[in-house]
């Protein structure tokens, strides 16, 4: 099962790889990374149908914002689930994301406990 993590902070890759190292090792999870909204859309567009089933996206990025990416993904790949990860914990961002069809809204610093719960739910559902 492949998930895509989108964030303009490059160290996110190292962090996620370590946090999900067991899942990746065991082969239940495959991680892909993109460092901008535009790059994320390219990744999704590179495979038809995309193998990615879930996108975790940062909101605040140069160029296309996470909320715009959410809208794009929802219109082009409605079957892919999207959750937001943002340093903005305010209700305005939250509501906007939810209205646009985001599944969950995580705040930075990321609580990997709850993130893992979400990923595990996903793994369960894919079985």
């Amino acid at each position: 099962m492949k998930i895509l993590i989108v964030d303009d902070e490059k160290d996110v890759e190292l962090l996620f790889r370590q946090k999900f190292r067991k899942e990746v090792k065991s082969g239940v999870l495959e991680l892909a990374f993109a460092f901008s909204g535009e790059e994320a859309l390219k990744v999704l567009d590179s495979e038809h149908p995309p193998k990615v089933v879930y996108v975790f996206s940062d909101i605040n990025m140069p160029g296309m914002s996470g909320l715009e990416l959410l809208n794009q993904v929802k219109s082009h790949f409605p079957e892919i689930q999207v959750s937001m990860i943002s340093a903005y914990g305010d209700s305005q961002n939250y509501e906007k994301a939810m209205q646009s069809g985001a599944k969950e809204f995580f705040t930075k610093p990321i609580d990997f406990e709850s993130l893992k719960v979400e990923v595990n739910k996903l793994i369960e559902s894919q079985k």
Binding site: L15, Q18, K19, P62, K108, I110, F112
Partner: protein, 456 residues
């Protein structure tokens, strides 16, 4: 001709002023007495009463002699000398005639022809002298009038002078008062300006806070999670060691080392953001210190971008940063330069975003508001360029943008002090230069030049 009448005429004229010359009041009294005496003597000498009229006649001679003597000898009456000379021959002839008629009328009859001729010449003399005297008198009179005129003019001048002095005093008082009022107004303006500058700083700090909050959450995310995952890695490493997998354990330790470096890096990042915020809020210019222009530029670009993002959710923009690695550390007040960068970058984003909104109204949605920030090593210093693809600055406004309180933003959105403060910081604070280039409809580019060695 009668001697009495002549004496009265003489006395009458002696009493009158001649041009500017006037006899004293005392002399006037004496002359008055003389006139009364002359009149009385004249009356008696013509009375025909024997003895008395003769005595009066002789007294009249005496009076005449006295008048002639006094007029010729007394300094106060000498101005009438001419008149005496005019009348003297006639008076002499009258005295001779009357004297002879009294003692020897027959002798007088024998010389009457000569006497009459002499009288005729004496009268001619008197007339000529009189005309001459009149001329002199008129000249004197004129002189007197001139003197009077001058005196009057002098008085007028004095009055004018006094009036002028009064006016000058009043004006001086008015001006002093105005000056005091102006000084007070200036003082008030200065304190208002200080307050505005303070509120400008606070406003930009407000803009910063959202960006700062966001910027701190990101490094914090790494600090927290790399620490957490490192603890997990230590457990894993133990497990690997227990099961004798030395190689795997070593690999995990390498990862751990990398994680600790990441933690340190992001910890420092958070630290510099907080320091930047403190510098920014500092009310007065701080100390100059050798600073990394590239790091500062990068930091403030991010602060600006995230600040705007945090404030306005619909805000979408892109930025490109190009840092010249050859830029050497420069002596600057980091908080001040940061403020300038923040101001210019915010303006750039604002301008580009405005253009985007305009184009969207016209149905054009493919415009990406972008800000380019670039550092460049130049001879003896560094150049920082901030460029946006907004609507640019019309030429007629370009010269005004560095003036205090000039703003094109809607009321309440800008204090109009940002650019003037920036200009002041760069030129006066750092001996550098702040220039603007723009093509209306296409771009605006600010160029900051900071010399390596600042003068102050």
């Amino acid at each position: 001709m009668n001697l009495g009448v002549i004496l009265l005429i003489l006395l009458f004229y002696l009493r009158r002023p001649m041009g500017p010359i006037e006899v004293s009041a005392e002399w006037k009294r004496i002359i008055n007495g003389g006139m009364i005496a002359a009149f009385v003597l004249w009356a008696f000498s013509n009375s025909g009463i024997p003895i008395i009229s003769q005595v009066a006649l002789f007294l009249n001679f005496g009076l005449g002699a006295l008048i002639v003597y006094l007029t010729l000898r007394n300094p106060e009456l000498q101005h009438r000398k001419g008149m005496i000379y005019a009348w003297l021959p006639l008076m002499g002839l009258i005295v001779i005639q009357e004297f002879l008629e009294l003692i020897s009328p027959s002798f007088f009859n024998s010389i009457e022809v000569y006497h009459s001729t002499a009288t005729f010449f004496a009268i001619v003399w008197a007339v000529v002298m009189w005309i001459n005297n009149t001329k002199q008198r008129k000249a004197l009179e004129q002189e007197r009038l001139k003197t009077l005129q001058k005196e009057r003019e002098y008085k007028v001048t004095e009055a004018l002078k006094a009036q002028l002095e009064k006016q000058v005093q009043e004006r001086t008082k008015e001006i002093t008062q105005k000056k005091n009022e102006l000084e007070k107004a200036l003082q008030e303006l200065k304190s208002a300006q200080d307050q505005l500058i303070h509120s400008e700083k606070m406003a930009s700090l407000g803009e910063l806070t959202a960006g700062i909050a966001h910027e701190i959450q990101n490094p914090l995310n790494f600090v927290n999670n790399f620490s957490e995952v490192s603890a997990e890695l230590i457990d894993e490493a133990k497990e690997e060691l227990d099961s004798g997998n030395q190689e795997d354990a070593k690999e995990i330790l390498e990862d751990l080392k990398a994680n600790l470096q990441k933690i340190l890096h992001h910890g420092k990042r958070a630290d510099s953001i907080v320091k930047g915020m403190l510098l920014h809020s500092r009310s007065n210019s701080g100390q100059k210190e050798k600073s990394d222009i590239n790091a500062l530029t990068d930091e403030y670009l991010r602060l600006s971008y995230h600040g705007l993002r945090a404030k306005d959710k619909s805000f979408t923009a892109d930025f490109k940063i190009e840092l010249d690695e050859n830029v050497e550390p420069v002596e600057i007040v980091p908080g001040d330069i940061g403020r300038v960068l923040l101001n210019l970058i915010n303006n750039g984003f604002y301008a580009a975003d405005e253009k985007k909104k305009e184009l969207e109204k016209a149905g054009q949605t493919d415009f990406m508001p972008t800000v380019w920030v670039k550092t460049q090593k130049i001879q003896n210093g560094v150049k920082i360029t901030v460029r946006d693809n907004g609507n640019g600055i019309p030429d007629e406004i370009k010269s005004k943008i560095f003036q205090p309180f000039f703003t094109t933003k809607p009321t309440g959105k800008g204090t109009g002090l940002g650019l003037s403060m920036s200009y002041d910081i760069i030129t006066n604070g750092h001996g550098g230069d702040l220039k603007v280039k723009s093509k209306p409809g296409e771009f605006t580019e600010f160029e900051i030049i900071i010399p390596q060695t600042t003068k102050s």
